[in-house]
């Protein structure tokens, strides 16, 4: 962090503490950050606090709101609907995220190798889905999956086969994974690609001269070098996955039998608050979900940094 050394402040007599110049600069700095923090506090910290507060109460038909301690949280973690939703997101995370990031990493490495023709256009084409709103992406894939005029169903029918049911109970999670993958491969690819471009070429020129092939270089030089960027994409994927809302809520309209109102934790919280009007329990669900996300992110970090930590402890 570069800071402007205030020459006046340094020259000023120590007994008076801060010089007027330094004071004026501090005042300016506080004024610069003030507008952001006004919105930050009112739109982030206050709602967060209010949500925590709400989650500690229960509303009854008789007697109105009463303090309930952690009862809502006990209820949440013993609520099959919530736990099943969390489990579903865990499955989603374990299957979809490696596929998405693996695909993104492959594309980034391939483009970075400079061996493909039209790399610039390819990069753009891969990225385009990110500019498509999640709602439109889901609507579009919903039609593509559909049995009536979806092209896949049409192809199957044309050769006289039964079209696969993409919107059935057993397959809809996979169909959602595909939508999210389609949307975010390009986005993650660009993050990884930027990190790859930032590796100084000297790092692997020597290896190339020694005859190491592109796969070897990718595995032992490039991958370790972009670990921070990979970690960033994983953490963003954790946050994105566990908050899944658009896909279930929109697919619910075309596949009502496959998606119930607690299909994902976030969709559950929404339905609790706006359909069941159980605001207190919904707040507890949302807060509990936040905790789960924090814990999973933390575990991801611990796993990726295990090696460094072991080294550090070993040297003690």
């Amino acid at each position: 962090m570069g800071t402007v050394p205030s020459t006046v402040a340094r020259r000023g007599r120590r007994s008076t503490g801060l010089s007027t110049m330094k004071k004026r600069q501090n005042a300016a700095a506080y004024l610069f950050i003030l507008p952001f923090f006004v919105v930050f506090i009112s739109m982030l910290l206050v709602p967060l606090w209010y949500s925590a507060y709400l989650s500690l109460f229960q509303s009854q038909l008789i007697g109105g709101e009463t303090f309930a301690g952690l009862a809502n949280y006990v209820r949440a973690f013993t609520d099959l609907a919530f736990v099943a939703g969390l489990g579903r997101m865990l499955v989603f995370f374990v299957i979809q995220v490696p596929i998405m990031l693996g695909f993104a990493l492959f594309l980034a490495l391939a483009l970075d190798s400079g061996r493909a023709r039209g790399a610039k256009s390819l990069r753009l084409l891969y990225f385009v889905p990110y500019a498509v709103p999640g709602v439109v992406a889901t609507l579009m894939w919903g039609y593509l999956y559909g049995p009536d005029f979806g092209p896949v169903a049409q192809l199957f029918r044309a050769v006289g086969l039964q079209a696969p049911d993409f919107l059935g109970e057993g397959s809809i999670l996979g169909s959602m994974m595909n939508i999210v993958t389609w949307e975010y491969v390009g986005y993650n690819m660009v993050i990884l690609y930027a990190a790859l471009r930032a590796i100084p070429p000297e790092l692997y020129e020597a290896a190339e001269i020694d005859g190491a092939g592109p796969t070897r270089i990718a595995w032992s030089i490039k991958l370790p070098a972009i670990r921070p960027a990979l970690l960033l994409t994983v953490i963003f994927s954790v946050i994105g996955t566990f908050q899944l809302f658009n896909e279930p809520s929109l697919l619910d309209a075309i596949a009502p039998s496959a998606i119930d109102d607690s299909y994902t934790p976030n969709y559950y919280a929404y339905n609790l608050a706006f359909v069941n009007q159980d605001v207190n329990y919904a707040a507890a669900i949302a807060f509990a979900l936040g905790l789960v996300i924090a814990v999973v992110s933390y575990i991801v970090q611990l796993t990726t940094q295990r090696r460094e930590r072991t080294n550090r402890e070993g040297s003690r």
Binding site: A29, F36, W182, Y184
Partner: protein
């Protein structure tokens, strides 16, 4: 928790401070025809669905059901469909599009300005509490935004802000990641000596920011603006819970409701091609923006944005 946040920040910083990719590829040596073919085949996965969307928006309802999805139908009905997109329900689609533009542009402008001021202060001033405040800002990147939507809704309904444009714009002004990005950007882009020189010339702190700093922050500002714009443009959850008059809806909520209506059937089958064409039209502006502003996001996306 705190160490997690700092780690993420350090990670992101490592990515951000990466030098921009050089346009000519010094690493390209041999061309691999096999790799080229493979990569172009991969691109079909990303492009074909959108191609289908375009084809489908040129078809009338009958062709939609009876002709193959990935090629034109018997009749080219794009203009007809466009007319119906903009005339159905008294042309409410145009209203939704206008709302989307207003919410996204106002939010992104505000978020960018707030982030630029705060990021600049964190980068260029050493003031009591700056470290703690910056850590808190970083920690907020990890807060799942949807966890906030519900309490924000309840608070807004107490002060009568729900079902107004403010309900969309005000929460979208907070961009902790934008602050972080601007801090990293300002630290590199604005030389300390320049600020000192301006001070010696007697310029006030705010004039230095407005006349010296903002100009040097240009590319960083565009990046933050573009990604805030996308976040608000694509947001569905917040407007869904905040708004209930359809004249205030953005495109995302409006299209979702039209789709639900057409899926429910009830003689409104004609809506299928309208919803499809409407979806297609809604995709165009952002795709065009990304194409034209390539050079910004190609280096700037590295810093990412939190998925909406």
């Amino acid at each position: 928790m705190t160490s997690t946040q700092i780690d993420v920040a350090a990670t992101a910083e490592a990515v951000v401070s990466a030098p921009p990719a050089s346009p000519q590829s010094p690493r390209g040596r041999r061309r691999g025809p096999l790799l080229t073919v493979m990569l172009w085949i991969c691109s079909l996965y990303f492009v074909l669905p959108l191609f289908w969307l375009f084809i489908a928006s040129t078809k009338d309802n009958e062709d939609l059901f009876s002709t193959f999805g990935l090629w034109f139908g018997n009749r080219f009905a794009l203009w007809e469909n466009l007319r119906s997109v903009f005339t159905v329900q008294d042309g409410i689609y145009a209203q939704w599009a206008l709302n989307t533009v207003i919410y996204a542009v106002v939010s992104a402008t505000g978020a960018t300005l707030l982030a630029a001021m705060a990021g600049y202060a964190f980068a260029k001033y050493e003031f009591p509490g700056s470290r703690a405040l910056f850590s808190i800002t970083l920690g907020a990147i990890m807060i799942p935004l949807t966890a906030l939507a519900l309490p924000t809704y309840l608070l807004f309904s107490k002060v009568g802000l729900t079902n107004t444009p403010w309900a969309i714009v005000i929460p979208s002004l907070v961009s902790p990641f934008g602050v972080f990005l601007m801090r990293v950007y300002a630290a590199d882009a604005i030389p300390d000596s320049l600020i000192e020189a301006a001070r010696v010339d007697g310029a006030g702190e705010f004039r230095i920011f407005g006349q010296v700093a903002l100009r040097l922050l240009g590319p960083g500002l565009v990046t933050v603006f573009l990604f805030s714009l996308v976040a608000t443009w694509n947001n569905y959850f917040l407007p869904l819970i905040m708004l209930n008059s359809s004249s205030l809806y953005p495109l995302t909520v409006g299209l979702a409701q039209q789709q639900a209506a057409s899926a429910a059937g009830g003689g409104s089958q004609a809506l299928f091609s309208t919803v499809i064409t409407g979806s297609f039209v809604s995709v165009i502006p952002l795709v065009v923006a990304f194409l034209f502003l390539q050079r910004y996001w190609q280096s700037g996306l590295a810093t990412g944005g939190v998925k909406a």
